[in-house]
Amino acid sequence: MTKTTPQKRYGMVIDIDRCDGCGACMVACSLENNVSVVPPEAGIHRGLTWIRVYSVTNEKEYPHSDTAYLPVSCQHCGNETPCVGVCPQSAVDVDPKNGIVSQIPERCMGCRYCMVACPYHARYFNWWDPVWPEGTEHLLNPGVTPRMRGVVEKCNFCHGRHHAAQERAASEGRSEIEPNEYQTACAEACPNGAITFGDLADKDSEVAKLAAGPESFQLLKTLGTGPKVYYLTQRGWVRDMAAKTPLPLDGQPDD
């Protein structure tokens, strides 16, 4: 396992209190990455949604009823990445330079072992042949290749945009890109500015500050996979729900 600490650690901070479940991020992500639409009989467990908004209620009657929306995408785990260790033909790889967990559909054999291994269920399998409506072939985003049947696909932090930013920087003679030049489609599309994307390793970046803030929490932190997506909330029940997995060994709630 290449444990070299990457120069950059791209990550996201999602403010749950700002997210109102509009789903613009899901649509923007699917458009940016040429994610196809599955037939109607697919049901909710065979879709292709690289970022998936779960709605969670506090199960209370009016007037105390409250709802939180949790967009969950690949967390680009940095420590013992579950899916990298299991892929039999190295179709999954953590980029040492920026910590992005990649998934190469051309190398993927479709054994789906990584899907079983991922605790965040952030990996989606093409159960059907991806089909595009008649004539829309030339509307696809040229920066991302469409996948084929029988392979797994996942969020790669809009790497097509990372390429475009690299090209733009290179045309100005720079080989590294500036933080504001590269942003994911979901962060750009979110109407309420709930999603912030950036380099967690760069201490004075917006993402790093928010992630280090008191309100931040992570999903399944006790599993120790080192997710790089942080969530913010000031609502106690949301934090308790996220930490619903029983108390870790030392018995204190994980605050």
Binding site: A28, S30, L31, Y62, P63, H138, L139
Partner: protein
């Protein structure tokens, strides 16, 4: 002994061949090529190749008029993004806008003019024959019909195109019917003002309190700037949002205070709030005394309101008296905005509810004050270059029943869903005919006799809308980023080919005319999307410069204007409405006719407006996840489910006198007991699976006798064992 020469040597030959093949690259390259073949199956789409051009335009899919940055390759758009710093949308584009380009290839796209023959079968006819048919129908309608026998249903009445429609209708003594939209209720407030009033807008961004009667404030109401950005703001002077709604909508769940009223009791609550304002004198007495014409005297506003004590109101609406008092005091504490909402699927509030709501605004003196209701000076949209009578614009509800003999529906996207029964009632029962000039088949007009394909907003130049919450008027253009297919034709061209008498100008002439008039006005500023900042209009020397700026995605915004509120009637001018206001109390929240098992409340998703087609990618929200429940699901609260004997996931049928739909039950503790919420769409057909057929249409159920309001429908809910 030994073997025939043939077999042993044959084995030798094969062995040699195998070794030879292994030593040549052919089999290994073959293996590699097979793997590459699995990547390039013939049915896998090829990516567009070529340099990427960036252009700016506006989105025409609804009246919010968000700014768009469009990346295209080889003339077709491959990426749509928001324009940061845009005066109206501030970088926001809703899901529908992002994926709008896919609508041009939607299976329900009308690709040839079709007509319903005598046998009721729809078949295609050439464009010339369609226009001739329309001309014939027009002739025999004008010969026989009285006023309003020809009508145009216009989903966005404030545009230059609407002016051309009204001029064309003027010559035919027709009616220009306003389609259902977010800002339809604003005209109710203008009707309450005494004397001519300018266009009105709601200044939500600077309001201290927002009192929303079911309006989707946090779901992208209006444009991104004021609407859904509210939730994003954390500064202290963020407007305090009070959502008065029965349904646990996204706005209700996200609002600062959610008043969950019993179904159909908005009027009672509004008057209850008014009662607190009047009884505690929380209003500017001198001004109101001068301006309010129907404040005192018998049957006056003060007397009406006195009967709505908080205790009585709380019994009817289910909101406790203390909360009513608290909301009223907060409302009176500063500039506030009242929005009687129009639900994309549930339709408008009743007329008396809108009047009661706006009376609060008038009482609070918010009309004409920043942070309340502001005036938007019309800019170059009031008069046409040449002379001619303009037909007046009427509400769908105010159109007398059975009066329309030829209805022409302008099918541009963005209008909200209308129940089929409501339209049919307005048509003349015997010779009523509907002609739809639309790019898509729309379920409300799926019965149209003649359909002529028109362009989608991404393919034709037109005016971008002005959002409900824009403090000033503005003009932006939807510059086409895709080539319009040759079978689609502009609605104005159809009318000009049909109209024998008056000349109908083309859309470009109209827009250029307005642009020139704005340039002559030398007011406001122009936003340049590529640079991201605004430049005063005076810097544009000729009107050609302005036109070039607009056609490259720029946006002209007017300067703000002050407007003092004229005298007004708190109970509106219409006697019928005043009468219904007085009888609001006697009408118990559930009228005797409603002693039905359950109250059906249809609703619609703001950016998936009920019946129109949707880009297939929106299925991610409705089908591939349970984030939004579409027309297959009904939400009820666990208590009601228990009474009716339902469990989560059961199949149930909801019946009214007009029909029934089958739904799957979803439990939600936040729903009012005895109420079931069903989304009016999108059906699977909306995502392009035409083979699946329309599916159940919740909007076929309401009969809406009284003034076209179908938000609350008495119904029965039965178990369907499937």
């Amino acid at each position: 002994m030994g073997f025939s020469v043939k077999r042993r040597d044959f084995l030798g030959l094969v062995g040699g061949g195998a070794v030879g093949a292994a030593l040549s690259p052919a089999p290994w390259k073959g293996l590699d090529d097979i793997a590459i073949w699995t990547q390039n199956w013939s049915w896998k789409p090829r990516l567009p190749r070529g340099p990427v051009e960036v252009a700016f335009t506006h989105c025409g899919l609804c009246h919010a008029g968000c700014g768009l940055k469009v990346r295209s390759v080889g003339g077709s758009p491959v990426g749509v993004h928001g324009v940061p710093g845009h005066p109206l949308s501030a970088g926001f584009v809703c899901a529908l806008g992002l994926a709008g380009r896919y609508l041009s290839y939607h299976p329900s796209r009308i690709v040839e003019p079709t007509i319903v023959g005598a046998d009721g079968q729809r078949r295609g006819i050439p464009f010339k024959a369609a226009v001739r048919q329309l001309g014939d129908w027009l002739d025999d309608t004008r010969s026989g019909g009285g006023h309003g026998s020809v009508a145009i249903l216009d989903n966005r009445p404030g545009r230059m195109r609407s002016l051309a429609y009204r001029k064309w209708l003027g010559a035919l003594d027709g009616a220009h019917i306003k389609g259902l939209r977010e800002d339809t209720p604003i005209n109710r407030l203008r009707a309450m003002l005494d004397g001519p009033a300018p266009e009105l807008g709601l200044d939500i961004a600077r309001a201290r309190t927002v009192l929303s009667f079911g309006a989707p404030v946090l779901e992208g109401l209006g444009s991104g700037e004021a609407g859904s950005q509210l939730r994003g703001r954390s500064d202290s002077d963020k407007p305090y949002i009070v959502q008065i709604e029965t349904r646990p909508s996204r706005t209700a769940r996200g609002a600062d205070l959610w008043l969950r009223i019993a179904p159909g009791t908005e009027t009672v609550l509004a008057l209850g709030l008014a009662n607190v304002l009047v009884s505690e004198g929380l209003y500017d007495k001198e001004i109101i005394a001068q301006q309010a014409l129907d404040l005192d005297g018998p049957g006056g506003y003060r007397e009406l309101v006195a009967r709505f004590s908080p205790k009585k109101v709380s019994r009817i609406t289910g909101i406790d008296a203390a909360t009513i008092k608290k909301v009223a005091r907060r409302f009176a504490s500063g500039p506030a905005v009242v929005i009687p909402g129009v639900d994309p699927g549930g339709g408008p509030l009743s007329a008396e509810a809108q009047t009661a709501a706006f009376s609060l605004s008038l009482l609070n003196g918010d009309v004409g004050r920043p942070g309340g209701v502001v005036a938007r000076r019309a800019s170059g949209t009031t008069q046409l270059p040449r002379e001619g009578r303009l037909a007046d614009t009427v509400e769908l509800a105010d159109v007398p029943d059975g009066s329309i003999r030829l209805l022409i529906a302008d099918g541009v996207a963005g209008g909200f869903a209308i129940p089929t029964s409501l339209l049919e009632r307005k048509l003349n029962p015997s010779e009523g005919r509907v002609v739809s000039l639309a790019p898509f088949e729309r379920s409300a007009l799926h019965g149209a006799d003649l359909v002529i394909p028109s362009t989608t907003p991404f393919e034709s130049i037109d005016e971008a809308g002005v959002p409900i919450d824009a403090p000033v008027d503005s003009m932006g253009l939807t510059v086409p980023s895709m080539r319009a297919p040759d079978y689609s034709v502009d609605s104005l061209r159809v009318l000009s080919m049909v109209a024998k008498s008056s000349v109908v100008p083309t859309i470009t002439e109209l827009l250029r005319g307005r642009s020139d008039r704005i340039h002559a006005g030398e007011r406001g500023s122009v936003f340049d999307p590529s640079k991201g900042e605004s430049v005063p209009l005076t810097e544009f020397k000729t009107n050609g410069d302005l036109w070039r700026a607009l056609t490259s995605g720029g946006l002209w915004t007017d300067a703000s204007a002050t407007f003092s509120c004229p005298p007004f009637r708190l109970m509106g001018a219409n006697a019928a409405i005043r009468d219904r206001l007085h009888r609001a109390l006697e009408q118990p929240s559930t009228a005797d006719g409603w002693a039905h098992e359950i109250t059906l409340m249809p609703f619609g998703w703001r950016d998936a407006s009920g019946d129109g087609p949707l880009p297939p990618v929106m299925a991610k929200l409705f089908r591939e996840t349970r984030l939004r429940l579409d027309s297959r699901f009904a939400t009820i609260c666990p208590k009601t489910a228990g009474d009716l004997g339902f469990v989560e996931g059961d199949k149930a049928s909801i019946k009214t006198s007009l029909g029934s739909i089958t739904v799957e039950v979803v439990l939600d503790p936040a729903v009012v007991d005895g109420v079931v919420h069903v989304a009016v769409g999108p059906s699977t057909e909306a995502f392009g699976d035409a083979s699946r057929g329309k599916g159940d249409q919740p909007l076929d159920l309401p009969s809406c006798e009284n003034d076209a309001c179908w938000r609350v429908i008495p119904a029965k809910m039965l178990e369907v064992v499937s």
